[in-house]
């Protein structure tokens, strides 16, 4: 019911913008320039893709090893310490991350790369990557733990080392859970608002070159949150922002559903856990 309502209102409010600008012009337009009533989402989409890729890289780089550590290596003592810490880390409000991002990360990046401003896609990506480590780790650890003991013992009995067992037996067996967790995290990264809003710089302009993560950029959420406060109710800009929200909702919903499907598909094919 609520889902239908949300979809209905977003479609309703964004319909006007889509009709006025045209769906293709809106999705692929190279310029986002509200003052001139030009609403092209390409800069926003490019920004979102960049930020997601870099954030995901950081996310996986720390999150998956951490899950392996928790499920395979950690003794009872370090587990007791780490597990609650990770859960607490997951609970830190995003605005607090954003605050730290502004006062610590942005200042740091500005100094180290001699940037005009540290507010950049890279800053957002680092912040979001770190922010969602706990989410990734928790699901991955559950997936790793669900692998039956017999699998591991069988591998160890064949003379494989612990690492060989983890790499060739445990990780493949848990792959469906891990991949689903990664896809879910893509959805989280794209949908996160406050932290991104404060550090990405909110300039909706195509970076040049396209992969320039050191440039200021904008993502779906930051455009909505940054500009919605100032627009006149019912104006074209207002509807365009709803259109951005609509695209975001569609993307995230597709991602979440595909995470479920991927998990089911891999489980069916390889009998994973």
């Amino acid at each position: 019911m609520a889902m239908v309502l949300i979809f209905y209102f977003l479609t309703f409010e964004s319909f006007l913008a889509f009709r006025e600008v045209g769906i293709f012009d809106m999705l692929l337009g190279q310029k986002w320039h509200p003052a001139g009533d030009i609403f092209g989402m390409a800069p926003i989409i490019v920004g979102s893709v960049l930020i997601t890729l870099v954030a995901l890289f950081i996310n996986i780089l720390v999150g998956v090893p951490l899950a392996i550590y928790l499920s395979e290596l950690a003794g009872p003592w370090s587990r007791e310490l780490l597990k609650p810490s990770i859960e607490l880390l997951a609970g830190v409000p995003s605005i607090v991350y954003g605050f730290l991002g502004v006062l610590v990360l942005v200042v740091y990046l500005e100094g180290s790369f001699d940037m005009l401003t540290g507010r950049s896609i890279l800053a957002g990506a680092i912040l979001l990557g770190i922010m969602f480590i706990p989410a990734l780790t928790t699901i991955c650890e559950d997936a790793l733990r669900a692998v039956p003991k017999e699998f591991k013992e069988g591998s160890l009995a064949l003379g494989a080392t612990h690492w060989q067992t983890v790499r060739n037996v445990t990780l493949p067996a848990a792959s469906s859970g891990i991949i689903a967790a990664v896809i879910l995290n893509v959805g989280r990264i794209i949908g996160e608002t406050m932290a991104a809003l404060l550090v990405v710089g909110n300039v909706a302009r195509l970076p040049s070159p396209v992969f320039d993560v050191f440039d200021r950029g904008a993502i779906f959420t930051s455009v909505i949150a940054g500009e919605m406060g100032e627009v006149a109710h019912g104006s074209m800009h207002y509807h365009a922002l709803f259109a951005v929200g609509f695209v975001l909702l569609v993307i995230v919903t597709v991602i979440n559903i595909s995470a479920d499907l991927v998990r089911a598909a891999i489980q069916k094919r390889f009998g994973g856990y």
Partner: protein, 424 residues
Amino acid sequence: MKKIRPAPLSSLVVALFLLSSSLYYLVVQPGYIPLVPFWEGGLLVCLVLITASALALRREEADGKAVVWPFGRLLPLAADLAYSLVVFLLIYSARVRPGLEIELLDLSAVFTYKIVLPFLVFLASFLAIKDSINLLYGYSTRGREVLVFSMVRLSAVFTLLLLGGIISVILFRGIGAISWEFLTSPHYRLGTEGGISTCIQGTFWLVMGAMLISAPLGIGAAIYLNEYSKHSGLKRVVTIAVGCLNGVPSVVYGLFGLAFLVATFGLSLLAGSIILGLMNLPTIILTSQEALKSVPNSLREGSVALGATRWQTIKKVVIPSAMPGVLTGLIIGVARAAGETAPIMWTAVTFSATPVHMFYGVVPDVTQPVNNLCYHLLNLIYFLGAWDVEEKAWGTALVLLALVLSINMVAILVRNHYRKKVVW
């Protein structure tokens, strides 16, 4: 026990020194790095030791005969050594010197000496560690395991440092702003003076409102889904909807609230509570459902066998046994509602310093907007460059973090307590 090879061991020690010192300078980034001569020497020592021990290992393996190492082993080793050599030469020939600036591919960043040099050394030392460990264990699988697992352990250390860092930075910077006055008086002069009492009130009522809406609905839905519904069709649809709702970004909830609720109720506590409640709904449904599922069927059957009706069974048997799980979900919901900004930005909050208006001193006026900790912090962040609000901002962040983390802590404790105690 195999004999320990001294050469790779000592190169490992040198490489570890290089790694830690370059990492330190990568993080701290002073203009001048006093360790450069040591880095040059260290790189050279690693280079020589690794080459020597590789030759020694080869002779050892061959038993006097000359064998050719497999390509997959030789190539990475040669590449690593070549890289280290190049880095050494770059530093030695003063190609990488203070004042160096590299602009790459029109990127908006300039890579200067203070970041290029530590990075090059960091990479070289990492490769040297890899090779040293491989040589130390004679390229056995054991060496690989040691290498990978030590990296895995590092990720755990990193996480702990991160949590510790976040908490301690906010604690140390924020503690100075905290005083009785800060907590009990409203802010004035755009937040540069005064406190956050109105924000605390507003947060409290928003969370209360959200829980009043989401708790009965969420638990009710979970009970229905788990205990009553037989039509698998409807159940499937609801389950999918809950899953989707769970993934909807918080800013989209804000948009929805703006289009739907604000049009009806105006900018108000009520609109904000409904939005936060709606946002919490999936979490509460999912955790409650999980808790209900874990109640064994034998308990239900026992109750029914004694002649209890279905509702009596649910009320007297199922809900009490599922209570800890449900409670954990609710507490997590409270923490989430207290920490969210995006859904309420345009629906419920203003940067106001007037206290929440109360009827008879107990019931808040739900048609008025309130202030809120997160929103207050957001405004202070926007003011950062313009007015002197930094100290107040740290203080607000500390209060918010302490509030949310302590609520989460309670949830974790409740769960762990019952997990140990309840045995079916």
